[in-house]
Symmetry: C2
Subunit: 235 residues, 2 copies
Amino acid sequence: MSDSGRPIGTGLHDPVLETIGMEITCGELPAGHVLTLDGIGERFGVSRTVAREAMRVLESMCLVQSRRRVGITVRPREEWNVFDPRVIWWRLSGSDRDAQLRSLTELRIAVEPLAAASAARGASAAERSRVVELATSLRKLGEAAELTEFMEADVEFHTLLLRAGGNEMFAALSNVVGSVLRGRTQLGLMPHQPVPEALDLHEAVAEAVAAGRAADAEDAMRKLLAEVRTAVLPS
Amino acid sequence: MSDSGRPIGTGLHDPVLETIGMEITCGELPAGHVLTLDGIGERFGVSRTVAREAMRVLESMCLVQSRRRVGITVRPREEWNVFDPRVIWWRLSGSDRDAQLRSLTELRIAVEPLAAASAARGASAAERSRVVELATSLRKLGEAAELTEFMEADVEFHTLLLRAGGNEMFAALSNVVGSVLRGRTQLGLMPHQPVPEALDLHEAVAEAVAAGRAADAEDAMRKLLAEVRTAVLPS
DNA sequence: CCTCCTCGAAAGGTACTATCTTTGCTCGGA
DNA sequence: TCCGAGCAAAGATAGTACCTTTCGAGGAGG
């Protein structure tokens, strides 16, 4: 699961999907633009069937619509399945990283506090001890300014909290959060050294979860994300 | 957009996708079960290419994994793209409506208050007046116990609030919320007559949004969803 | 008991046919 | 002369049949 857990495509049609998906989400192919299977097949050197399968997947993400005689038209952004992990990944890699990061951060602010509260109520003993362990690691790595290692531990921290609550919708967002955190690090939106308050808050969340204090966990996570918001939304 | 806004499939492979997707999400085809393209083609009377396209879409939802020589294996539930509108719809129509409604309601509790606050900050004039209009309609329809009409207005109310904030991730959840509300009504989880408190809270949310009082809107929406929670989670 | 080879089954990929829809041209009427 | 309706042709997708590649399993031999 190297990148946001999207399924590993081993086939020949994967590069087609990847390239065109990226081009659409980046805005390079604007809404209303028309593609043809022949054009795709010729461009990538594949048969029409391969192109068709790729388009079928894109259609299932509501990125394009296929109509007879007309061709394959790119749909407007409002209709995209923006929760599809591939779409999120493409947009984070592409040109509108900014809007995407803003939206996702707002989503995190909404979800993660409640997920932390759920985790405080429902986590297993192993999960409780692991979350404390991770918070300790985070402090150590943060103070040593090991940014990459810090990020990996941070991803595991948030993933664990999203999964421990037992809500599968929250759990499904863990890939999204992982993408956001990796994106922020790659984009240089992380401070060179994590601010001490953030480290304190990670520990506060961990302790509250470990002790089963749901309200405290929720509150600490909310404060933590307020910190994140100021980093991502400089406005 | 009769059902959760999933793209209208006009092709021949759509019934295949629909049937097998439903069977997997319902648990009728358990994780690890192996399908073959030939089997699918024979069962539905279609060619293998059609079956393959349907499987490609299912694969893009992480419901199955296709490996050579082995066949198409059903993946465990934890790996599904549970945010895909089709998956949500299938699960709501199928046997684990209950777990799905619980998860989705928790998600609503997380997201909708913040979305209401965003709407209070960023809605257009037309949206502000429309939301008040809808709250008034809701009171009238609720007191008249017109359940279906009430639901439709309720869907529009929540959809409007999710979209007005300008956050595309929130906006993308409007189909989900629509599905939940419709599912609750069809499932008989709505009271025969909406409780007066709910009507009051809808109006409170609307007024706060119209007046631009973000904190009040958030608070009222939170109370409204607390009401919903008690209805859905009888525990 | 381990290793290697062979066989076969199922997915991957290609070429071809059918069908449907759009578009443009023509003919007739006002 | 202009406008509208209808018909025909073209082109692109939908679907089918067939060949190729790959990898897993089972058996034989060391």
